[in-house]
């Protein structure tokens, strides 16, 4: 790509996106910027001017830019493209999003990659629909550095009151979602006022030009000063080292730091920071870096967990409220399942509620709907299948935003605005506090797993009375022990007369406390390395509630849930195996054994590329 030699090519890049309502002067602004900074190939300006004369048209900078673009693009002007210009030791990469039909998808892809933005408003037309939508989306996408360029000032006689009217109206709009532009700049791109050089026609404006504003945009936000967030990307064991790899999304870490992984609540100290071809090896890392650390203890963590320091933990929840923009080919629907991706975590989720479609023309408007159409923005509540670590987007960028995948495609994105309290919150908090204070012996859970030839897990049977749960549970326990595994049938009845003896009749009639105690006992047995086989018999028909409590309390140990019923009925959420009608108990046992293998309980799947890892 050729550039004139007026400036030398620097090393630093800054990604800029230019947005705004159609015809508010994007191409003209770019044409001006490229021409006035001497960034066009030699003779280009004269050539386009000559063509205009020939065709009897008035020369416009927009033609110049379009001609320049065409040359660079070799004819394709469909998707987000990038052009470059250089100014004062920095290369500006202009992410351009031409094409009207798919504009929003491209605008969003472009802006999500941008470090700063210019938003154009036509002085004659004022604040239009797209001006508002783009302003809102920039904020949603996390582009905090932006300036508003009020163009075509020449068409309103360079009047200060017109400029100030637009500034006031637009500032008010942006203020509703706390977006603050770096600058409002009155310009005429056509005549070159306040683009590269200061305008003589608007002496009342004393702020920077467009080019000055670009120079003032900073390369990087101060994420290193925030509390630590490191999303585990992968765990490598290519050699003797077991390296937890990931990108530091906020904050810093150093050798010796005590890390807490959420949502598993596992903890360990950083033994080393690993790197290739860096001498001496690093001992610390900070926001933005892709790092690898080893830990002083062999705890098993997997992709999707978020490491932080204990003083500043992320939220852990299965439900949250969010603002989402939708780009999917089919509309987003309430009750439908999507894949949720937050940082490196992927989990199934459901749209629990669509609160309203956000009308970007008037944010106060309430507009209810059962679906969110393509290119709409909405407020939703999402509910995930398993607990995830996240943050509010107001406090953390990377762990406060997410995408939704519909079938194979990223179909929407959004930011977390509020945690929604779920019924497991108290138990989750209990588990977290208990795990942090857990006193460990010399024998780790991994040592036990190695000795026993399997990992700890819970197999839980749910269902109504007389469905064969107890029988199958006994059979499974027998089979596991016969195979040399360490398994134990934990029957709730055995807690009733002993551990639960202090409970009143009334408390024994309710599930809450009984399930909590059962879950804590199961948690203890898990720590001994056992495969705990359990029926939910003591809880009667409240098995759904009970199994959820057990899950929360033994988390992150794997729970294999088996539901048994005489006729078809809906099993509790996250059930792995459903057995309906007369049961072939041998076949059922085999199926459960298979599931245990699949989940990595019986077969250790640790190698160069671990697929499933956990412990307590």
């Amino acid at each position: 790509m050729s550039t004139t030699a007026t400036s030398t090519k620097p090393s630093e890049n800054l990604n800029i996106v230019i947005v705004g309502h159609v015809d508010h002067g994007k191409s003209t602004l770019l044409g001006r910027l490229y021409a006035d900074t001497g960034s066009l190939p030699d003779g280009k300006l004269e050539k386009v001017q000559a063509i205009c004369r020939q065709q009897g048209k008035e020369f416009e900078y927009a033609f110049l830019f379009d001609a320049f673009l065409e040359e660079q693009e070799q004819g394709i002007t469909i998707d987000t493209a990038r052009t470059f210009f250089i100014w004062k030791g920095r290369q500006y990469i202009i992410i351009d999003a031409p094409g009207h039909k798919e504009f929003l998808k491209n605008m969003i892809s472009g802006a999500a990659r941008a470090e700063a933005a210019l938003l154009l408003i036509d002085a004659l037309e004022g604040v239009k629909e797209q001006s508002k939508k783009h302003g809102y989306l920039l904020s949603l996408l996390g582009v905090r550095q932006f300036a508003v360029v009020v163009n075509k000032m020449d068409l309103v006689g360079y009047r200060q009151d017109v400029f100030e009217g637009i500034e006031k109206e637009y500032r008010e709009f942006l203020g509703q979602f706390k977006a603050v532009p770096a600058q409002f700049i009155p310009v005429s791109a056509k005549l070159g006022d306040n683009i590269v050089s200061r305008s003589g026609k608007m002496a009342w404006y004393t702020g920077p030009t467009v080019l000055d504003t670009l120079s003032q945009f900073k390369k990087e936000a101060a994420r290193a000063e925030q509390p630590l967030r490191l999303a585990v990307q992968d765990v490598y064991k290519f050699d003797a080292r077991r390296i937890i790899a990931g990108r530091i999304m906020a904050g810093r870490l150093k050798v010796g730091d005590h890390l807490v992984f959420s949502p598993s609540n596992k903890r360990a100290n950083i033994k080393s920071v690993e790197a290739f071809n860096i001498d001496p090896p690093p001992t610390e890392g900070q926001a933005g870096q892709s790092v690898g650390v080893t830990l002083d203890e062999q705890i098993f963590v997997e992709r999707g967990e978020v490491a932080s320091h204990q003083e500043h933990l992320p939220l852990v929840s299965t439900a949250f409220r969010a603002n989402v923009f939708w780009l999917g080919k089919r509309p987003l629907e309430k009750g439908r399942k999507y894949l949720l991706r937050v940082a490196t975590k992927e989990v199934d989720c459901e749209v629990a509620d669509i609160h309203r479609i956000i009308d970007t023309m008037d944010l106060a408007q309430q507009q209810g709907s059962g679906v969110v159409q393509k290119n709409q923005v909405a407020e939703l509540t999402l509910r995930s299948k398993a607990p995830i670590a996240l943050d509010l987007s107001a406090s953390f960028e990377s762990t406060g935003r997410f995408v939704l995948v519909d079938e194979y495609d990223i179909a929407g994105g959004g930011i977390v605005t509020e945690q929604v309290h779920d019924d497991q919150e108290f138990l989750r908090e209990e588990a977290r506090r208990r795990d942090f204070a857990w006193v460990k012996g010399e024998v780790g859970i991994e040592d036990r797993a190695k000795q026993y030839g399997h990992r700890a897990a819970v197999v839980v049977f749910t269902g109504g009375r007389h469905t064969g749960k107890s029988f199958l549970a006994r059979k499974l326990e027998g089979r596991l022990v016969a195979d040399g595994r360490h398994a134990y049938l934990l029957d709730g009845e055995n807690l009733r007369r002993g551990l639960d003896a202090d409970l009143s009749e009334e408390e024994r009639g309710q599930t809450t406390e009984m399930a909590r105690r059962y879950g804590e006992v199961a948690r203890l047995l898990i720590d001994t390395g056992l495969i705990v086989v359990s029926t939910t018999n003591p809880f009667g028909l409240a098995y759904k509630e009970a199994v959820q409590a057990i899950r929360t309390l033994v988390h992150p140990a794997p729970v294999i849930a088996v539901h048994m019923s005489k006729t078809e009925e809906e099993p509790p959420p996250n059930t792995d195996i459903v057995l309906t009608g007369p049961t072939d108990f041998d076949a059922a046992t085999r199926r459960i054994m298979e599931e245990l293998k699949k989940r990595g309980v019986l077969a250790q799947a640790i190698g160069a590329k671990p697929t499933f890892q956990y412990s307590i």
């Binding site: 790509m1 090519k9 190939p41 693009e73 998707d79 990038r82 080292r241 495609d409 990223i410």
Partner: protein, 265 residues
């Protein structure tokens, strides 16, 4: 140097995402400066290891020094090197005199497609950069190709923040571009910073010429240059007004657009 580490961090993140999501990955290595930097970044990402094969689509017309360099690094860095070749086309006498687009399509694009099909790769990592030429400026980091290897640049998936398209219907495969944000200068700055071994064809060895971009011998011509070191190259690039690929015949006319739509790298 800080900007190079930022580029490195982003590329390493992309490489690790690729490795996590695709079981059958391969990385294209043409032994040129870009794909060698890419290979180096893989060693960074995986702490000295390269956990997937390096693929070289051999047109048989490469400059011999490139093959020597390839085999030496493969040995020293213990690389899993896979060499593919469109033997049928070569047997039928394909060469650049039969038309450059035809020759590139047969020996490179189809050579690559054959290799992908034979080995069942679901993801190919390659070192294209957005600033090289127009069509590459439109690429995504994770860019899907259909069953025939074709690229539909009119309907590309959105890429939001660090979330890339990693799920696909069966039959498609993905091209992964960790170097998209790098410029030619960045490549050389990084080679210097990390002291990465490169082929000396990129340097002037006394006759006042050097290669700026390496391809097949018949279709790549050296440029006039007296750059004898990496520093010289960087200095030269800061002031040049000549396009990087000006010595590459395939870029003439709309050659690149036609080639890339059909699955050229």
């Amino acid at each position: 140097m800080k900007h190079l580490r930022q580029l490195e961090d982003q590329s390493v993140f992309i490489l690790r995402e690729a490795y996590k999501h695709f079981d059958n990955l391969g990385m294209l290595w043409s032994m040129g400066k870009d794909s060698t930097v890419l290979l180096w970044l893989a060693r960074k990402a995986f702490f000295g290891h390269v956990p997937f094969p390096l693929l070289h689509v051999d047109t048989s017309y490469k400059i011999p020094a490139m093959i020597e360099y390839r085999d030496r690094l493969a040995r020293e860095w213990r690389l899993d090197l896979v060499v593919g070749q469109n033997k049928e086309a070569l047997a039928a006498g394909m060469n650049h005199t039969m038309g450059r687009v035809a020759c590139c399509t047969a020996l490179k694009t189809n050579g690559l497609k054959q290799l992908i099909e034979q080995k069942g790769y679901t993801g190919i990592i390659l070192g294209v950069r957005a600033d090289e030429e127009g069509t590459r400026a439109k690429e995504r980091y994770f860019s899907p190709r259909d069953k025939h290897g074709d690229w539909d640049f009119r309907d590309q998936p959105p890429e939001l923040w660090d979330q890339y398209k990693t799920t696909f219907p069966p039959g498609t495969h993905i091209r992964i571009h960790p170097l998209l944000d790098w410029t030619e200068i960045n490549i050389w700055e990084y080679i210097k910073l990390e002291n990465i071994p490169f082929i000396d064809l990129y340097l002037d060895k006394g006759d006042g010429t050097r290669y700026r971009s390496l391809g097949c011998a018949p279709c790549t011509t050296p440029i006039k240059s007296t750059a004898k070191s990496v520093d010289d190259i960087i200095e030269e690039l800061r002031h040049t007004t000549v396009a990087e690929r000006s010595g590459r015949a395939q870029d003439e006319g709309r050659g690149m657009e036609m080639l890339r739509k059909d699955g050229y790298m």
